[in-house]
């Protein structure tokens, strides 16, 4: 009897426990699901934000990856590649040396020209192949004025302004052919590409006119007391100026609009002719700066070899930078990164003691890889693969459920 009573009690307790237990678990479950829900929504918000940010900067992925690839390769090959030292040059100035510095320094002309090339590409859907010739003409004007008088800070500024003016005139010539006469940019600029170096020769009349002065050294290599090579500073200055131009005017929006849909641009009150012309004027100025850097760096001009084939490298920099060569949306940062990637590749090859006659062949191989990877076909294949992986994991989840 007693036993029976305890049994009843026992069952009562277990019942109570069970109900209590289930209540607690219920509570816990609801709380848990609430928390997870909260976490999920927060997470999805962050993910969305990240995705949006990522999409905005997705264009920079290819140039950054190329640079990363070259960097990793060098890290594996020889970590001392990255060493940067301060040493004294022959004028007894402290200067930065090392492969990184020579990449940044050596790419200066290319970086400046790629900036302008990006604008022309975006507005006109075509490329200017006369930039090397145009830069040489500008540099010839620069050298001509400096050789005609004494080299002082004043005359250098004057010579620079004159060379900018000359470059803008020739830029306007290219721009007029493209925007007013609607000639394909590559064909229009073929004119100056063909005759530009002869024009440059006529301006000075000599084979390799030289300019020598400590002031020119300061422009082309180092300002006494400043360890950073001057061309790097000039690139930063040009970048800031262009950045300001895009930030404080509507040039960026107009250029992209004209590049994407010229007819719609006109119907919204934008003058496509003017915008295309403007892009060529900016490119002309960029060429003038590049020409002055190059002439000051060497202290002389060789009309035949100065800025040789830079047009092709500049187009390549624009392409690696993820800009559509058919015009439209653009990121100048991408092109500049592209320019540095190209120079990094060259310097790496030299550091590997590849003979200078073979450098171009190796360069071509790497360029093929970069261009194929960033081609729409490969991009689509990758995104398809990605979708498949996602789908498979989804299926697995469902099966598990």
């Amino acid at each position: 009897m007693k036993r029976f009573a305890s049994k009843i009690k026992w069952s009562k307790y277990t019942q109570l426990l069970k109900t209590k237990w289930s209540k607690y678990t219920q509570l816990l479950k609801t709380k848990w699901s609430k928390y997870t829900q909260l976490l999920k929504t927060k997470w999805s918000k962050y993910a969305q934000l990240l995705k949006a940010k990522g999409r905005k900067h997705a264009q920079l992925l290819v140039p950054l990856l190329s640079i990363l690839l070259i960097a990793v390769f060098n890290l594996l090959r020889d970590p001392s590649f990255f060493s940067v030292e301060i040493s004294k040059n022959n004028l007894d100035n402290p200067v930065l040396t090392g492969n990184l510095i020579s990449i940044l320094n050596g790419a200066s002309e290319l970086a400046v020209i790629s900036m302008g090339m990006t604008l022309v590409t975006a507005a006109c859907g075509g490329q200017d192949i006369s930039v090397g010739a145009l830069g040489t003409i500008a540099a010839s004007v620069f050298v001509k004025i400096l050789r005609d008088g004494q080299i002082t800070a004043g005359t250098i500024v004057l010579a620079f302004l004159a060379c900018c003016a000359a470059a803008m005139v020739f830029g306007a010539f290219n721009g007029t052919l493209v925007s007013v006469f609607k000639i394909q940019p590559m064909i229009a600029t073929l004119v100056l590409f063909t005759c530009g170096r002869s024009v440059a020769y006529w301006i000075n009349g000599g084979a390799t006119p030289t300019i020598e002065s400590p002031l020119i050294n300061a422009v082309g290599s180092f300002i006494p007391g400043c360890p950073v090579p001057t061309p790097i500073l000039i690139v930063i200055a040009v970048g800031l100026l262009l950045g300001a131009l895009l930030r404080f005017t509507t040039l960026g929006l107009y250029t992209q609009t004209v590049g994407i849909n010229q007819r719609a641009a006109r119907l919204n009150g934008i003058n496509p002719t003017l915008i295309k012309l403007a892009s060529f004027l900016v490119l002309g100025l960029c060429c003038a700066v590049a020409g002055c850097i190059s002439a000051s760096r060497l202290g002389l001009i060789n009309h035949e070899t100065m800025l040789q084939e830079i047009e092709m490298d500049a187009i390549l920099a624009v392409a690696i930078g993820g800009n559509a060569l058919g015009g439209g949306k653009f990121r100048i940062t991408g092109s500049v990164l592209g320019a540095y990637a190209i120079q990094a590749l060259t310097i790496t090859l030299y550091a590997m003691k590849v003979p200078s006659t073979d450098v171009k062949a190796y360069k071509a191989i790497v360029i093929i890889i970069i261009v194929v990877i960033s081609s729409p076909v490969v991009k689509q294949a990758i995104s398809r693969l990605w979708a498949k992986v996602k789908e498979n994991s989804q299926k697995k989840k469902e099966v598990a459920a």
Binding site: F248, T249, T250
Partner: protein, 500 residues
């Protein structure tokens, strides 16, 4: 002779991605007849012609010539089957002689000497009464004669079916008459002619039968005598004449008083529209109507300065103004939503935000970019006000649906607060819900004092939204309807050239 069936197309179907261009279309051509193929733009006329000539492959149906089924996979196949086409633009070489043009590219005659060819060409030209000499350079002939040479070339290639695609659009009246004589000659020789045109009078001048297409489907085949012009227009538009006359809207007589916001006299542009007078008052909604290609889009483009304006005087709010490009029009407070959204409206790769602020930004000027904050405020406001469905303001406009793209373009112009807004086909290709939304929006804007010109291919829509309709035909204004005269019947009668 007319009863012998030459060409028979049965159940032709053709799909393009997302569009059903042709569905179950029958077409019959008899030997020795001139058969007009009619329909508005987008009705499927040119698709049908292209299927017949092998430019497109068909998805369904059969084609047979003289009772035998043929398979046409390329333009060459079509030529072998005896089908020749003469297009609107002359596709011959103007720098060669007439005879050379008649014989080039025909491998059959490779071994025949040129002397013989010139004699043969002379014979053909004489037989067809074409006023051209074989040794004359083709470019020296008038356009009409060039067209006739193209036809002669086709005839000499043993063509049984001759397709004339808009052959008269660049000819004057006398030349058209010459061409018609030639067409009648060929008819009597047993050639079957398919005549595609949008000039109604010409159809009645020369054709025996008419086949009407609408929205990719066959409306019917008619004998010319049994189909009055008004009914043809009704068939092309898909409206019945009776019973639809009651769609009148509340009269808005107030709209016809007061000074015009915009007024123009003898305006014309280089697109070839006849000089026209036009004015619009504050708070008025009016519209240009007419068949596609009647010049209604060209008229509003001239008002906005989108085409090269070649004459006329413009007055904005009573003051003389010069509007020769879109920017000047925008500065005078005119906005223009273009007919072709894809080609003229959207900047496909740019974001919704950039597409909305574009016009306002241009008006503010090159050196005054809108700050991110201002942009956000404007864009958010209009995305909400017009209920634009987009993932975010930074989504590229090309990934939006057609209706939402159109709303973005509308937002672009509303943001500039225009006094006079021109909407050319704002509702084309968008869903019904958005359509009514846009119509309501137009009425509301007018109530708030904006003047609106509204163009649509759908007459009901025009009748519902406009208080005055300007009717156009063949690039000139042929009538104006308002008040109690606003009815579908009247519009169609005016288009067809009857009384108002």
């Amino acid at each position: 002779m007319q009863d012998k069936i030459l060409l028979s197309m049965r159940g032709i179907g053709k799909n393009f991605p997302g569009v059903r261009a042709l569905h179950n279309v029958d077409f019959t051509l008899r030997a020795g007849e001139i058969h007009a193929l009619m329909g508005e733009n987008g009705a499927g006329k040119s698709t049908l012609i292209k299927v017949l000539t092998g430019v497109y492959g068909k998805d369904a149906g059969t084609i047979s010539i003289e009772g035998k089924e043929v398979f046409i996979r390329s333009p060459q196949d079509a030529q072998k089957a005896g089908i020749s086409t003469v297009y609107q633009e002359i596709t011959l070489c103007p720098n060669l002689t007439v005879a050379e043009n008649m014989f080039i590219g025909r491998d059959k005659n490779v071994l025949v000497g040129w002397g013989k060819r010139y004699r043969r060409a002379g014979e053909i030209l004489r037989n067809l009464n074409i006023p051209a000499r074989p040794r004359q350079q083709l470019g020296a002939c008038s356009l009409a004669v060039q067209q006739m040479v193209a036809i002669a070339r086709a005839v000499d290639m043993d063509c049984k079916v001759l397709i004339l695609d808009e052959p008269t659009s660049s000819l004057d009246d006398k030349e058209v008459e010459m061409l018609f004589t030639l067409m009648r000659d060929l008819r009597s020789q047993g050639v079957g002619i398919i005549f595609v045109t949008h000039f109604l009078e010409q159809v009645y001048a020369v054709s025996d039968r008419i086949t009407v297409l609408r929205n990719g489907e066959l409306v019917g085949e008619y004998e010319v005598e049994n189909l009055p012009q008004v009914e043809l227009v009704a068939k092309m538009m898909g409206k019945e004449l009776q019973g639809l006359s009651d769609l009148k809207q509340d009269d808005n007589e107030a709209a016809f008083t007061g000074t015009p916001v915009y007024e123009v006299a003898h305006l014309t542009s280089t697109t070839g529209i006849a000089p026209f007078d036009f004015s619009i008052r504050k708070g008025e909604v009016n519209g240009f109507t007419g068949l596609l290609g009647s010049g209604r889009s060209e008229s509003v483009r001239a008002i906005f300065g989108a085409d090269r304006v070649s004459g006329g005087t413009v007055q904005v709010e009573g003051k003389k103004a010069r509007i020769s490009n879109p920017k000047q029009a925008m500065k005078r407070g005119i906005g223009y939503l273009p007919e072709d959204r894809k080609a003229d409206g959207i900047i496909a790769d740019l974001s919704v935000r950039e597409n909305i602020i574009l016009a306002l930004q241009v008006m503010k000027g090159f050196f005054h970019p809108l700050s991110q904050k201002e942009q956000d405020a404007f864009v958010d406001e209009y995305i909400r006000a017009l209920d634009i469905k987009t993932a975010s303001a930074d989504t590229p406009i090309k990934s939006l649906s057609g209706g939402n793209q159109q709303k973005v373009i509308l937002a672009r112009w509303l943001l500039t607060h225009p006094k006079y807004l021109i909407l050319d086909e704002p509702t084309r290709g968008i869903d019904v819900g958005t359509k009514t939304e846009i119509q309501r929006l137009v009425r509301r804007l007018a109530k708030d004092g904006m003047s609106v010109t509204f163009i649509s291919s759908e007459i009901e829509e025009m009748l519902r939204t406009c208080s005055r309709l300007i009717v156009m035909r063949d690039r000139r204004i042929v009538g104006e309807l308002r008040g109690t005269k606003l009815s579908q019947d009247n519009v169609m009668r005016t288009i067809a050239g009857g009384e108002q």
